[in-house]
């Protein structure tokens, strides 16, 4: 009776002892580190820098907690908080990657939208310039507008190059600049034509 009581006590004690010896969540650490590393790209740093920073900070915090627990006596180690932090860091890294993807897609579609409308806008400006009232007193203005149109065409070419190399912000800026110029030309010519019609 006494022997069996002692054996049971030892088995229960050992089980509790082993249960208390929690080990570092290495699988979670590896997975989270991999997720953060995947997110650490040029694109994410460009299009979702804040989300990436949040993921990196969360990972560092969780790993500091892992090390703190590693340093404790093995029976009192508790990796629950570290695990939660790691999970949160992994989620944040995935969010950063998806945010970057979404922001990049938005930048791309914005640039594409302006770029798609630009050739027509340039054509309209060209047609308007061709129709512009020609005379000695308008020649200087027409010459200035022709310069503007030429620069707008250059901006379109550069925007297309930037677009094909994935520099969407550059492409958008150039396309917007060209659009502004061509719209101004069309508007100016329109006003001049209205003025001429008014004189008649």
């Amino acid at each position: 009776m006494k022997k069996s009581f002692l054996a049971i006590s030892l088995i229960v004690g050992c089980s509790l002892f082993l249960a208390a010896c929690a080990s570092a969540p290495t699988a979670e650490i590896t997975a989270t580190k991999a997720a953060v590393a995947t997110a650490q790209t040029d694109d994410v740093r460009t299009y979702a820098p804040d989300s990436l920073k949040a993921a990196e900070d969360e990972l560092n915090k969780a790993l500091a907690e892992v090390q703190t627990q590693d340093g404790k006596f093995f029976v009192s180690r508790d990796y629950k908080q570290a695990s939660a932090g790691l999970k949160s860091a992994k989620d944040l890294a995935e969010k950063a990657a998806s945010d970057a993807q979404a922001n990049k897609a938005k930048a791309k579609s914005d640039a594409e939208a302006v770029l798609a409308a630009l050739p027509q806008s340039i054509e309209e400006a060209k047609k308007a310039l061709a129709k512009a009232p020609k005379g000695k007193d308008t020649r200087a203005d027409i010459e200035a507008m022709q310069n503007d149109l030429k620069v707008a065409e250059e901006a379109l070419t550069e925007a297309n190059t930037a677009m094909s190399s994935g520099q969407y912000k550059d492409a958008l800026t150039k396309a917007e600049s060209a659009k502004e110029k061509t719209s101004a030309i069309t508007e100016q010519v329109q006003k001049a034509l209205e003025k001429v019609r008014g004189r008649r």
């Binding site: 002692l6 740093r45 340093g71 800026t173 150039k174």
Partner: protein
């Protein structure tokens, strides 16, 4: 429950063994770095990624490669330690290597940050300077800077400067800086072209020639007591002289390429030389007008010479119909080579003019300012 003596001995011995184990463990833990440096490793990875992909990373590629080598070495030591039995693991050396690599990474990040700050400061300064140069009322000590000259390079510079401004607002520092430099290059080309075009206004021989022509007109007016017109292209003034004295002074608009000597038809330049009023029109397209006898013999001679030299095409024409007329605007050189005055000024000049009246057009003359000073 009674416990026998033997059992008590076993329990005490077990307790002592446990205490000894805990004590040994604590001593072992304190005797070296036993915990795996997870945060250091992660910090190094983050720093490396930032060095690889951060702003202006391309400028630090060599440093980044060297850092990767150091980090690889630290990682190798870390994995070697990981492979050891946990009792034999000691991360002291690994920690040192990782800390050292982290410090290097931090230094590189600082360098990148500093460079970014420098680039920002450079961008702000060069953009502000460029905008100042491109400003319409800018005076950088050059003659041409007083005039709003229409030129493709100038338009290009303005467009690129606007794009740089927009990119800077979006935080695209490198790209904004690149656009600023390109804008500067375009502006420099415009500067060089303008310097070349306006060099003759600073040429002593040309100035002397123009001064002589203006002085000759003045002395003729003084001797005869008659009226004469002096046009100073650089000053954009049309002076009416009577008896060698200034009777009236008007603001004049000139041809779009007024700073050049007129050579041929449609070059939009205003001619230079001695002319006479050939005819007077009270109601031309631009109101009152005085038709000049351009081209004169000197113009024809120069035109033929340039055609013979092949500078002008054989089909080139010398042009004509250069007038002093109304329809003038404020601060705009818009004509094809004529001199244009404001309608009220032109009416006044017309009233005081006559057919055969002498008109001298010069690039610039010291006489203009001396007459106006009087």
């Amino acid at each position: 429950m009674a416990v026998s003596g033997k059992t008590r001995v076993i329990l005490v011995a077990t307790a002592l063994a446990l205490f000894a184990l805990v004590g040994t463990y604590e001593v072992w833990m304190q005797s070296g770095a036993r915990t795996r440096p997870w945060p250091l490793e992660a910090y190094l990875e983050s720093s490396l990624a930032e060095c690889r992909t951060g702003p202006g990373a391309y400028a630090f590629m060599r440093e980044c490669v060297l850092l990767e080598i150091r980090a690889d070495e630290a990682r190798r030591y870390l994995f070697e330690e990981d492979r050891d039995l946990f009792l034999w693991r000691d991360y002291t050396d690994v920690n040192l290597r990782l800390v050292s690599a982290c410090l290097d990474a931090q230094l590189l990040r600082l360098k990148m940050g500093l460079r970014q700050q420098e680039q920002k400061a450079k961008l702000a300064a060069s953009l502000a300077c460029l905008q100042g140069e491109l400003g319409a009322n800018n005076h950088n000590g050059k003659i041409w800077s007083r005039f709003d000259l229409s030129d493709i390079e100038r338009t290009r510079a303005r467009s690129l400067a606007d794009q740089a401004q927009s990119l800077a607002a979006k935080g695209e520092i490198e790209s904004a800086l690149n656009h600023t430099f390109r804008a500067w290059a375009a502006w420099r080309r415009f500067n060089d072209q303008s310097d070349q075009e306006f060099a003759r206004f600073e040429d002593a021989a040309m100035q002397e020639k123009w001064d002589r022509e203006a002085a000759s007109l003045r002395s003729w007016s003084s001797e005869t007591g008659r009226r004469a017109i002096l046009v100073d292209k650089l000053a954009h003034r049309c002076l009416l002289l009577k008896g060698g004295k200034l009777e009236k002074s008007y603001t004049a608009n000139l041809g779009r390429n007024w700073y050049r000597q007129k050579i041929q038809e449609r070059d939009a330049s205003t001619p230079e030389g001695h002319y006479r009023v050939r005819r007077m029109f009270p109601s031309g397209k631009y109101g009152f007008a005085l038709l000049l006898d351009y081209p004169n013999s000197a113009d024809r001679e120069r035109f033929e010479e340039l055609r013979r030299a092949g500078v002008l095409s054989p089909t080139a024409r010398i042009g004509g119909g250069v007038e002093i007329h109304g329809g003038g605007r404020l601060d705009s050189d818009w004509t094809e080579g004529c001199v244009s005055l404001e309608t009220s000024d032109m009416r006044d000049l017309y009233r005081r003019s006559s057919v055969g009246m002498r008109v001298t057009i010069v690039g610039t003359s010291r006489l203009t300012s001396s007459l106006q000073g009087q």
